[in-house]
Amino acid sequence: MNLVKISLKNITSKPYPAILTLIMLTMGVALASLLVLVGGALDEGFKKNIRGIDMVVGAKGSPLQLILSAVYQIDNPTGNIPLSEAEQLANNRLVESTIQLSYGDSYKGRRIIGTSHDYLNLYDAELESGQLYEAPFEAVVGALVAEENDLKVGDQFYSAHGADEGAETHEDHPFLVKGILKSSGSVLDKLILTKPESIWEVHSHEGDTAEKEITAMLVKFKNKMGMISLPRMVNNQTSMQAALPSIEVNRLFELFAIGISTLRIVALSVLLLGAVSIFVSMVNSLKDRVFELALIRSMGATRSQVFLMILIEALLLSLVGIVMGLVVSHSAILALNDYASNQFGVSISFLKVSSGEWIIIGITLLLSLLAALLPAYRTVKIDVSKVLSSHVK
């Protein structure tokens, strides 16, 4: 027998008001934690994929589209750029290293990208099986693509023109799967990688081959000077466009910001409602419980024990609400994980409670305690003798 047990029994013996309070607390915590988790994962996912990329050059058009297509492999490319012009930029003394990307084909809706092994190293890719491609029409397949299409080392497949599923296939040039990549949570998971020559040869019969083209080039600068002068130089003096991933990602996040702050207000309001519900149900139940509390005092309970008992009841409620809310949000994330890693290369752990969530837990506990403070204080004021004698009929 102790205060916690008595408080618990007080809650469970009259479950309906408690359930209402719990629903609100659960919803508030779940919403707030979802916001924190998704926001954090997006942030992390987007930053993970721009690691080591200072600048992207591609065909002129929307800089955001260039970043989304060349870095995150979400959007369509802005077009192609001449290889010669790209190589000229690569030789600039402010450029440390470059990675060329050539698009054009796909397999079952997954992009085939012609590039060097440097692109794999950029994301610290590791092979699950097989080896890297060395010749045209050899391919290394991302973990997700291999899983979706049940591809194994030694399998052959035909690419389709463009990025759409079901487009015209290039029947005369089969690709050979040389290796499968381990899942890394980066964009590599959903790509098929090959030598750039594969892309060029597939399309060689289709038109003018006088000038070789690539789709985009990822650039790493030698120092900060590159950041200042190179983008302007590319945009003003070449037919290409330069975009800075960090700037474009921030712009993208600003687009989300209004939605996220609205949701934040909604989550906080629901949490507040939960606290108000604690307050109302406690004030209500105190009316019925005044006699019982006086009785407990007559048994020798001190004022502070009764005060504490009310606070413990609020704390128990909010703890259960917090646990249920976190279970709800983490389950939702678990369900969304497949989709998210598919679309954005983002994944979230089910069991880990993030630092943002600890803040939510703290806020919820604090709100519940504040809500219980006034009802608890009223129990201190109970005139035991008066309450006990007024009860006699």
């Binding site: 027998m1 005092r297 020798g300 006699v392």
Partner: protein, 214 residues
């Protein structure tokens, strides 16, 4: 145990209500085991006296000693603790913590009063009072007589020196009233507690030699 230990003593006790009506109580003294019956018509301050003796109401004028300790000079929180340790209550209308079952109500009384829970003792009290079979039941499933017996078990569960009973029998019929009174007396004696009963119930007068009329 020494003989003739004074359990309860009052001196020049009086109480003034907010309506400025003043009641003065006669001095009382009780030795260990000499149960005291305080009788009087309704409205003469019986409940007030009981609440003063139990430390539920602050003493305005006069003094009270329980077990040779002057309760009337204690601070409120000290009085709460003292009450839990030394005094048990049986009220006219037996009331309990509704969310707890029969046994847990007794245990809660031990927890709040004696600051120590003794489950075996609580169970043996329930058995002596013939309600051990109801230990896991809700208190509102008990009959009036059973509730009064549970109230006795609860009052004795902390092994108090004094049990203050406020009209413990007046809501019961003759047969039940005598049964409850006999149980109250025998259980109090068995557990070394001295009874102080306030009542207007004349059926009890013949049972006690130590009486005070208000």
């Amino acid at each position: 145990m020494e003989e003739k230990r004074i359990v309860l003593r009052t001196s020049e006790l009086s109480h003034t209500y907010s309506s400025e009506e003043k009641i003065s109580f006669p001095d009382m003294i009780t030795e260990k085991g000499k149960h005291l019956l305080i009788s009087g018509r309704s409205g003469v301050g019986k409940t007030t006296l009981l609440h003063l003796l139990g430390g539920l109401t602050s003493v305005q004028s006069g003094r009270i000693w329980i077990e040779e300790q002057e309760m009337s000079s204690m601070s409120k929180s000290k009085r709460d603790a003292f009450r839990g340790k030394h005094i048990g209550f049986v009220f006219q209308q037996a009331s309990f913590i509704q969310s707890l079952n029969v046994l847990d109500n007794v245990l809660a009384s031990q927890y709040f009063g004696a600051k120590k829970v003794n489950r075996d003792f609580a169970l043996s009290l329930l058995a002596e009072l013939g309600i051990a079979g109801y230990a896991k039941k809700k208190t509102n499933e008990l009959s009036g007589g059973e509730r009064q017996r549970l109230a006795i078990a609860r009052a004795l569960s902390t092994s108090p020196d004094v049990v203050l009973a406020d009209e413990p029998t007046s809501s019961l019929d003759d047969a039940n009233a005598m049964k409850v009174l006999d149980l109250l007396v025998s259980e109090a004696e068995q557990n070394g507690a001295t009874l102080v009963i306030v009542t207007h119930d004349n059926r009890l007068k013949s049972k006690f030699e130590n009486q005070v009329e208000l």
